[in-house]
Amino acid sequence: MKKPLATAAALAAVALSLSACGGGTPASSAGEINYWLWDANQLPAYQQCATDFHAANPELTVKITQRGWDDYWSTLTNSFVAGTAPDVFTDHLSKFPDFVARHQLLPLDDAVKNDKIDTKQFIPGLADLWVGQDGKRYGLPKDWDTVGLFYNKSMTKAAGLSDAHMAQLSWNPDDGGTYEKAIAHLTVDKNGKRGDEAGFDKTKVAVYGLGLAGSGSGQGQTEWSFLTGTTGWTHTDKNPWGSKYNYDDPKFQKTIAWWASLADKGYMPRLETTVGASVADTFGAGKAAINTNGDWMIGQYSGYKGVQVGIAPTPTGVDGKRSSMFNGLADSISAATKNPAGATKWVEYLASPQCQDVVAGKAVVFPAIKSSSELAAKAFAAKGTDVSAFTQQVKDGTTFLFPITDNAAKIDAIMKPAMDAVVSGKAPASSLTDANSQVNALFAK
């Protein structure tokens, strides 16, 4: 009996990889499942899930491969072409439309229906992000993230800024509001003069008020989207599946111009100085007082020796409210998997409370399941980290979704240099209008 089954499975796999589309019931689910992820901080949590999964399903073994973000996507794409793709992989909202368009993902609708996966157990909105334009579901949510302000407590204390003050900052694109005032006050030059004092030397800054990770390309997830989000601006005409970007909007360009002006004023490092060491490490080295970053970085920021980290929500903006991009990751199945049944089982396990509670317990990210997410908040609290700055945005409904459109890779190729040019002061913010027409031309085809 075994041989014909294996042959059938092999044939099914060949048929699958040839037609490169979903469907087909596999004959067997035994074997090894290859699973890829990019965040090294989350590896121990998922290794635990894999071990538990193997204990419950002895015929299946999960082999996890971790690769840094930069290598992850090109390796993944090439592996699709070469036929060496993992069975299951961690997927990102900016990437999955391209994969769907090329028929590289297995739809999960049958699995959700047959195995009665309750998509309501996830935080509202997360599950629907992974439904493609064809109406099929291509991922089950694993976690979510928002953006907040990480700040160096001894620096804010020395500057006379209380934690309560840091949590109440407000911003506008004209004078930057109390957000810019705090950034200016936290900036210190080599002579000990603060950014808002007379005689401040912006060419010899010892500590920048605000750290800079990069220009944020077309999304600005942790860099500027929490500001533009308060101005009523949205990345695209509709989300998900917009077909027109709005980088030509004066509201957007004004915000970016204000942000880039911080570097001119000496409150933020120049873009050219940020190539190399990561923004978080620079923060850890005491060279910046505030960093805007995502909740998946909590572990990194709290891990620096001798640095006491405070976390504040992003400032309230033009509309008087806060704003944060709401992004979520999911696990997707490669269409070329040789073991769709086993892969589906693993994805369902990853999206189950059993695994997400394990992830929650490690206090590295917020799992997608509501109850697991609450567990994670408790786990963070037990470690002495107050994560309300991140959860508050979800509770208050001040989040907006990550822009999901086609052509993400090509948009990035246009927007990265364009935004770099503006943030480094080589081009005015109005130059983004030209970039925007290039981006929108991609959708005209």
Binding site: V81, Q104, T203, R270, G276, S424
Partner: protein, 310 residues
């Protein structure tokens, strides 16, 4: 290597003993020795080149099959500002890289020939070349980091302002060119050193008898007689230089803005990030043509196949 050498020698000796045996049997033996190289050439060079040439006339996104679109890719390339930018950036890199590398390598070769006769010293000069490209790039990337790099620390101690070696549009390409000069000059020096050793000593003795000084000997004897080797070195290093990729990919990835987006990186990004394989193939064909022309001009004008000794 050893196994191919021994029969080759016995074959070379064979005609001397029995000259009539030349002909068919030699051809068969020759084919045996040539076949592996020919197969390698066909499988790894000829077929991919022809396929690349074909793909350059198609729209191909890796998934699905290529669609013939004629010259569209080439027309787009001519109008592509990023392509011209990439050519200018690559040109700047090649000029800086080759000029400094060749001068330093020649200097090192002369030192090896006249001064540093110890094998250890000569070996040490080769060390950077023995380290993998990516490691060299990462090493310098960290040492030249703006915030935490040791080089900037030293610059600051000297009372000078820090330099954003990789972050500044002005410095990115010179920095990358310098890194590769550092890595390759020992190897290039070794090639030139071999060339120097091939120059007959008696030519120098005659020059010395005629009362030529060191400077005059260098320009009138060494340089002309070194020319065939120098041309070979230039052809090889210029072609290699045009293909700069790894150092850029590991450090700036084309930035800031487009300041270090060299042609090979642009081809790679078009092919593997944007999945525009047809367009990337067309770019590769253009690079191939440029390199062919450059090599031809070098051979022609530097008369690389002739020697003054002849």
């Amino acid at each position: 290597m050893a196994t191919t050498e021994i029969p080759a020698r016995s074959q070379a000796a064979a005609p001397a003993r029995a000259p009539r045996k030349r002909g068919k049997s030699d051809l068969a033996t020759a084919l045996v020795f040539i076949t592996p190289a020919v197969v390698g050439f066909i499988v790894f060079y000829l077929v991919p080149t022809i396929r690349g040439l074909y793909l350059s006339f198609t729209n191909y996104n890796l998934f699905g099959s290529p669609v013939w679109i004629g010259l569209t890719n080439y027309i787009k390339i001519v109008q592509d500002k990023l392509f011209w930018n990439a050519m200018a950036v690559t040109g700047e890199y090649v000029v800086l890289n080759i000029a400094f590398q060749t001068v330093f390598a020649l200097g090192l070769a002369l030192l090896m020939y006249h001064v540093a006769k110890s094998t250890i010293v000569r070996g040490v000069l080769l060390l950077p070349y023995l380290v993998a490209n990516v490691i060299v790039a990462l090493l310098w990337f960290w040492m030249l980091d703006y915030q935490i790099g040791i080089v900037n620390q030293v610059i600051e101690w000297l009372g000078l302002p820090r330099v954003a070696f990789f972050g500044s549009g002005t410095w990115a390409i010179p920095t990358i060119a310098f890194i590769n000069v550092w890595r390759h000059m020992g190897y290039t020096a070794l090639l030139l050193f071999a060339g120097l050793q091939a120059i007959p000593r008696n030519v120098y003795e005659v020059a010395a008898l005629d009362g030529a000084g060191a400077w005059k000997t260098f320009w009138k004897i060494t340089m002309p007689l070194l020319r065939p080797v120098m041309v070979l070195v230039l052809v090889v290093t210029v072609i290699g230089s045009f293909q700069i990729f790894d150092t850029v990919a590991v450090t700036t990835n084309g930035g800031p803005v487009n300041a270090s987006r060299v042609i090979q990186l642009y081809i790679y990004q078009k092919a593997f990030t944007e999945q525009d394989f047809g367009y990337a193939s067309a770019l590769s064909v253009i690079l191939f043509a440029i390199l062919g022309v450059v090599a031809f001009l070098q051979m022609k004008f530097l008369r690389g196949n002739e020697s003054e000794l002849g």
